[in-house]
């Protein structure tokens, strides 16, 4: 019985690299050949394991640049078609931002303000907190204007996003199935509201491997806003489900050790810790001589990685090398756990080869007082989001990064007092990056902003599109579990939203 047997038992597709039961050990031998891009390494990380690392790099530089899989090996040996992006940052606006105060202006809804919501829209539909209540139209609370050469229509609460309007691809016709936060996030991340399925970041790591070896390939950051109640977020959202757990997201914390258990014990110096890890690895190597257990080699490699993280993570979070201009652009000096600070950290993660960064801003559940809440929350994200886009452009990362901005659902065109309730039939989401068409809007809701009527995009269409951009055909990317070939997009039909691709 070796590790990750669940994984090695299956060979879902001919396109996947055959693996023996000793999958992790096999990676050891073939990683180098698979590397196709430079891995960013912190100089501080060289120490323990540096020999192995240098050997790996040597192999990498002499290796052919053939496949799309990463340094640490993915299940897909060759992409199904040429990939357009290498990394993604998901700016998850947790709580469900109102599309009607962000990207979807509805003049007709303004006109209907305070009038009863026509039953033709709401009859037989799911409803969350407005169950049994009178349903009244509620006008968009802010003005919209046209921004950029493209004339993209954006709420005036987001002047900075307006500045980068020509880089934004706004999808106004999203819809989902789940009306409560927890299952809606679970659906958005895993394609199912049932617990136990892998999150999209885990799917990507499983399929493509990771491109850096001193940081996890999938990192999660969270922040809490001041403008609304902060809905809880479960660790399930970045879990690897039935995929091996090395593919799960690793949460970085704003306070305490950035990564759990990263800090060495009080009374132990970095040198001592290094000597300890070296001793452990030496003893494990000696042990491997006496017993045929390929897991030992993997264990040694993981201790090397853990030790490197003890340097690479502090280096990552040390912002002293960032310019005043950068701080000004993001509106933060970092280290304060804000959304802006996380955006800056996210850029640094992407630079270092992290494949999937997910950033939750828990702030958008505006059941009441949506007007002041939107003002506060928009201000928290507007500047930094725009700064991130511009920063990625300046650093040449924009072209092969996909930026996704959006929540788990939208909010009702109907009033809930001075706010809006959860809404799943139509909401907005924004893409940015070189692989998508900037300055365009796609799809639309009806005149009251209730139903996505023009080119509706389901969450699974988003998943299909995401995988497509990574060179993966969602229909051909599966993992066998309990006798079924599970896919991120599930069993229903899903479509790549080709019209938004550059």
């Amino acid at each position: 019985m070796t590790q990750d047997t669940a994984m090695t038992r299956e060979l879902p597709m001919t396109h996947e690299r055959p693996m023996t039961r000793h999958a992790t050990a096999t990676e050891e031998a073939t990683d180098g050949e698979r590397m196709r891009r430079r891995c960013f390494l912190s100089s501080a990380g060289l120490g323990v394991g540096s020999t192995a690392l240098l050997a790996m790099l040597a192999r990498a530089t002499s290796g052919s640049e053939t496949s799309g899989s990463g340094l640490l090996g993915g299940a897909i040996a060759r992409p199904h078609h040429p990939p357009r992006v290498r990394r993604v940052i998901h700016l998850c606006m947790a709580g469900g931002p109102s599309h009607l105060e962000t990207f979807d202006d509805k003049p007709e809804l303004r006109r209907m303000h305070d009038r009863p919501m026509p039953e033709s829209f709401t009859a037989g539909q799911q409803i969350a907190q407005l169950q049994g209540k009178k349903l009244t139209c509620f006008a968009p609370q802010f003005d919209f204007r046209r921004y950029g050469e493209s004339g993209q229509s954006i709420c005036t609460l987001f002047p900075n996003l307006g500045r980068v309007a020509d880089d934004l691809c706004v999808i106004r016709s999203m819809h989902t199935d789940q009306i409560n936060h927890d299952p809606a996030h679970t659906l958005f991340n895993t394609g199912s509201s049932q617990a136990g399925r892998p999150s999209m970041g885990s799917w990507l790591l499983y399929g493509l491997g990771q491109e850096c070896d001193d940081l996890p390939g999938y990192v999660v950051l969270t922040s809490v806003g001041k403008g609304g109640q902060a809905q809880p977020i479960a660790a399930r959202q970045w879990h690897s489900g039935f995929l091996p757990s090395r593919f799960q997201g690793v949460q970085f914390h704003a306070t305490g050790a950035p990564v759990l258990y990263l800090n060495r014990p009080d009374g132990v110096t970095a040198d001592q810790q290094r000597e300890l890890v070296e001793s452990v690895n030496t003893l494990n190597r000696d042990f491997a001589e006496t017993i045929d257990d390929p897991e030992i080699a993997t264990r040694i490699r993981q201790y090397e990685m853990a030790f490197r993280m003890q340097s690479s993570v502090p280096e990552l979070t040390d912002l002293s090398g960032e310019s005043e201009k950068t701080f000004a652009a993001y509106g933060t000096r970092g280290g304060d756990g804000t959304y802006a600070s996380n955006c800056l950290l996210a850029r640094r993660l992407l630079e270092r080869g992290v494949r999937f960064v997910q950033l939750y801003h828990r702030a958008w559940d505006h059941h009441g007082r949506i007007k002041p809440s939107m003002e506060t929350t928009a201000a928290e994200v507007d500047r930094a989001t725009a700064a991130l886009i511009e920063d990625l452009k300046a650093r040449g990362l924009f072209d092969d990064t996909l930026i996704v901005w959006g929540g788990e659902f939208g909010r009702t065109p109907m009033a809930q007092g001075s706010g809006r309730d959860h809404h799943i039939k139509g909401f907005s989401m924004v893409f940015s990056g070189g692989a998508v068409r900037g300055g365009m809007s796609y799809g639309g809701t009806d005149e009251l902003g209730y139903n996505a009527v023009e080119n509706p995009v389901h969450v699974r269409d988003f998943h299909a599109t995401l995988l497509h951009l990574f060179g993966i055909d969602h229909r051909r990317f599966s993992y066998r579990h309990q006798g079924l070939r599970f896919r991120l997009t599930g069993v229903e039909e899903a479509h790549v939203v080709r019209d938004v691709l550059a």
Binding site: G267, V280, E295, R299
Partner: protein
């Protein structure tokens, strides 16, 4: 991925089967299949009684040619049809294409695609072999094309008459007599099955594990704890069979045996201390956990165990214990989110119970039938909701308004119970004798109140009038068009029978309203009555139930070998993996039932076998010949489960608190880990005192944020049934072992013990540490490395005595005597190294 048969190997070297990669099972099963007259009703497989029935045939002669070999439907054809065809031509009537159904012979023949004996006239053959994209099956994009070998197999099967067999796990197990083996006579009944397979595969089994490895293996497998060094030394001195069996009994009688089995059961039933949705609030269910531990500890027969969990509240002689057991029905995730639509969540809870009960007892994916008929197994969507109807009597709310549930069942300890009775008596007496507000009466009432508040409660099941249960088309809870159903079991399984019991009041009230057939005559003559959970539980424990005993025996086998006899411990259905040793699995299932569902009987059989006692190091030849160990010619090996990683370190440190049961506890946890929780916001305060050092099984199980040290080692969040844990190997595990205060504290206390009691010399102390952790002597090379580590550490702490003090005061355990601090700090480097070794967290 099911492979074709390595016919070339068979032809070129019939005496020795070359086993490579995916062909392995087919490879070593095939030669037997060449020989065996397979029972037409039930394919017992090569290591079943059919094998014994054909002893005169020389298995090495290779006399039977591959062409004349009887193709096994269950092992070779069903998996192919299931995987490639059933999705559109199988049990699900909703998506059946062209009216063609291939999972049943009568229908397949009726539709004319199969001509028994005449593959050339069978459309099935022409379609799977077609080159035309418009004709070939499965159609492009709907599954992989059959390989030429697979096509040949289909042809041969049709040639031989296209016989079908019932799916192996859907027919009752048969008490198979073990096959005759030629080589040896030792071992027990298990070995006769295993050895026969080993012989047929032509591999050399691994030798017996050395005594140290064996005793450590046995201790972890049976108690989840490392063995005491004295026990190890005694067994090393006398590793005889008698001594081994004494050892087995010793561990089986250990109170910790119950904890070990409970760890696994709690994964299955998704036991946790919190709701799981949204705010993930705490709920009190720990008495159920303790019930499970006690049940395994006392070796409660599995049928009783089953009945009490599903229907402990409905038993005519229900006790506090059986009511506590009925908490099983309430372990599903639940939500307290404000915008929850109660009807939706009641539907979720109902589906969860079918999914879970189907997984726990039936070992199949019944949950797949929530939205449509099952694609591969004969579960219909209607049967899914009929099964859900068994649980429709559970009193519950769709939305949990606050963390304090209605109707929590108090579960007092014996002391609490007697004190409560005393107080009530005293209060009664006082009330009669004195006026209402005497100070003494007041004190008594206060004491009673605080006593009652301190009594742990559990979320036991209370029955009420059953809710209406409808088929939800496509699983849509908003769709009320489905038919109303009453409790019943899937038709392909044995029928449910009314149990002889008096009726509970509630189910009697509910009776009579039934319009549908699924009701039984009330033994008291009051008319038909609806089946209830008790009927369900009794049905599950019918002696002839095909799935329950097989599934449990298969999982038990996994706990002791790392893999099930059927690898797919979570799916014994059509898409699962057939067992490598069907005869053995059947035999174990029958042993289980015939012994009165005696769990310990099965465990004894397993751990007393020679197979169990083999080394996990089979040598390169065996590994190359059988990489997946499908012959079980060597033992499995795996990294310890998350809880055991913790328990092992605490035990080595001498910190482990060994008391059983009680409320869940909170070990040290990094600050801020719960910051994403809300409603309410929570801060985490770790336990102080003995509660800090409890076994991992007692850790507070916060579903949405499971304790990170457990999560790192693959403990499941227990939101859904987990029949097997993944075993990953990650950098986060290294960080836990290096830096988690629980680990560091265990290391520094172990260092304290080494300094105080391990002797004076470096070698003596090292011997002590290695013996405590690994139950063996230190190797010379280890001594060299660790001596140097200690020396470097000494230099550091001599330069910075304050650092030594900080390190040696990690955790809550008393720090060393001031005079020992420097030495303990030095030795903590050594103990940390030893606790971080791969070997330390492995079970070999």
């Amino acid at each position: 991925m099911r492979s074709s048969f390595p016919l070339r190997a068979a032809a070129s070297d019939p005496g020795r089967w070359r086993l490579t990669g995916w062909s392995v099972r087919a490879a070593f099963l095939m030669p037997l299949a060449l020989l065996l007259a397979v029972s037409d009703r039930l394919d017992l497989g090569p290591f079943g009684d059919a094998a014994a029935a054909a002893p005169e045939t020389d298995s090495k002669s290779g006399a039977a040619s591959p062409e004349s070999r009887k193709v096994s439907f269950n092992r070779e054809i069903r998996p192919l049809l299931s995987d490639r065809c059933f999705a559109c031509h199988g049990p699900d009537s909703g998506t059946r294409e062209a009216g063609l159904r291939l999972d049943r012979r009568d229908e397949a023949l009726g539709s004319g695609v199969l001509e028994p004996g005449a593959p050339e006239f069978s459309e099935l053959v022409s379609r799977v072999e077609a080159d035309d994209e418009g004709l070939v099956m499965p159609p492009p994009g709907h599954g992989e094309r059959l390989t030429p070998d697979e096509q040949t197999l289909i042809r041969r099967w049709i040639e031989q008459g296209a016989e079908y067999e019932a799916h192996w796990s859907f027919v009752p197990p048969v008490r198979v007599e073990p096959p005759v083996t030629t080589k040896r006579s030792g071992g027990n009944v298990i070995d006769r099955f295993i050895d026969r397979g080993i012989e047929e595969a032509g591999v050399t089994p691994a030798p017996r594990a050395d005594p140290r490895t064996l005793v450590r293996r046995l201790a972890f497998d049976l108690t989840g704890l490392p063995p005491d060094p004295e026990i190890v030394e005694a067994f090393v001195a006398d590793p005889s069979d008698v001594a081994y069996e004494r050892l087995v009994e010793r561990f089986l009688q250990s109170p910790h045996h119950g904890e070990r089995l409970a760890m696994y059961w709690l994964d299955l039933v998704r036991y946790a201390d919190t709701l799981g949705f949204h705010g993930d609030q705490v709920r009190s269910v720990s008495p159920y956990r303790d019930y499970v531990i006690r049940a395994f500890r006392e070796n409660k027969p599995f049928d009783e165990f089953t009945i009490e969990q599903l229907a402990g509240d409905l038993l005519p002689d229900a006790t506090l214990e059986t009511k506590v057991a009925s908490t099983y029905n309430r372990l599903n995730r639940a939500s307290g989110e404000g915008g929850v639509q109660p009807k939706e969540y009641l539907a979720r809870y109902a589906a969860d119970r079918v999914r879970t009960t189907g997984a726990v007892w039936l070992g199949t994916t019944f949950g797949c039938a929530e939205c449509h008929d099952h694609k591969f197994d004969p579960y219909t969507i209607k049967e899914f909701y009929e099964f859900a109807a068994f649980f429709a009597d559970i009193k519950e709310q769709g939305i949990v308004k606050s963390a304090v549930y209605i109707e929590q069942l108090p579960v007092p300890t014996d002391d609490q119970r007697s004190r409560q009775a005393e107080l009530k008596r005293a209060i009664g007496d006082a009330e009669r004798e004195q006026d209402a507000d005497s100070p003494r009466l007041e004190r008594l009432r206060e004491e009673l109140k605080s006593l009652e508040q301190s009594i742990v409660t559990t979320l036991a099941t209370t029955a009420t009038e059953p809710r209406e249960m409808r088929v939800l088309p496509r699983g849509n809870w908003m769709d009320d068009s489905g038919e109303i159903v009453t409790p019943n079991v899937p038709a392909f399984l044995p029928p449910i029978e009314p149990s002889a019991k008096s009726l509970t009041a509630t189910s009697a009230e509910a009776a009579g309203e039934e319009e549908n057939g699924a009701a039984v005559d009330d033994p008291d003559g009051a008319g038909p009555r609806r089946y209830d959970r008790l009927d369900l539980a009794r049905w599950l424990t019918r002696p002839d139930h095909p799935l329950v005993a097989r599934s449990f025996a298969n999982r038990l086998w996994m706990l002791f070998f790392g893999e099930g006899l059927s690898r797919s411990v979570d799916d014994l259905g059509s898409q699962g993996e057939p067992p490598t040793h069907p005869g053995l699995l059947d035999r174990l299932a029958c042993e289980f039932v015939d012994s009165g569902w005696d769990v310990r009987h099965l465990i004894r059989l397993i751990v007393r076998s020679d197979a169990y006692r083999r080394s996990s190091d089979g040598g390169p030849e065996l590994v190359a010949a059988d990489p997946a160990n499908e012959t079980f010619a060597r033992q499995g090996r795996w990294r310890l489960d998350a809880e055991m990683v913790r328990d092992n370190a605490l035990a080595a440190g001498g910190l482990l608190m060994r008391e059983l049961g009680g409320p869940s506890v909170k070990p040290y946890q990094p600050d801020g880990y719960w910051s994403q929780l809300n409603f309410p916001k929570r801060s985490y305060s770790h336990d102080t005192g003995p509660a800090q050092y409890r076994r991992g099984i007692y850790t507070h199980w916060q579903r949405t944020f499971l304790h990170p040290s457990l999560l790192a080692f693959d403990a499941p969040a227990r939101e859904e049934c987990a029949a097997r844990r993944t075993r990953s190997n990650t950098p986060l595990q290294a960080l836990v072992l290096l830096n988690d205060p629980s680990q560091v504290e265990a290391a520094r206390v172990l260092a304290q013990r080494a300094v105080e009691a391990g002797g004076d010399s470096f070698d003596e102390r090292l011997a002590f540490v290695v013996r405590e952790v690994l139950a063996r002597a230190a190797r010379p090379a280890e001594a060299t490395v660790l001596r140097r580590l200690a020396e470097r550490s000494r230099e550091a702490y001599e330069a910075d005595p304050n650092a030594a003090e900080r390190l040696t005061s990690t955790g809550l355990a008393p720090p060393p005597a001031p005079s020992d601090i420097a030495e303990v700090a030095v030795w903590t480097a050594v103990t940390r190294a030893v606790l971080n070794l791969h070997e330390t967290i492995m079970r070999y």
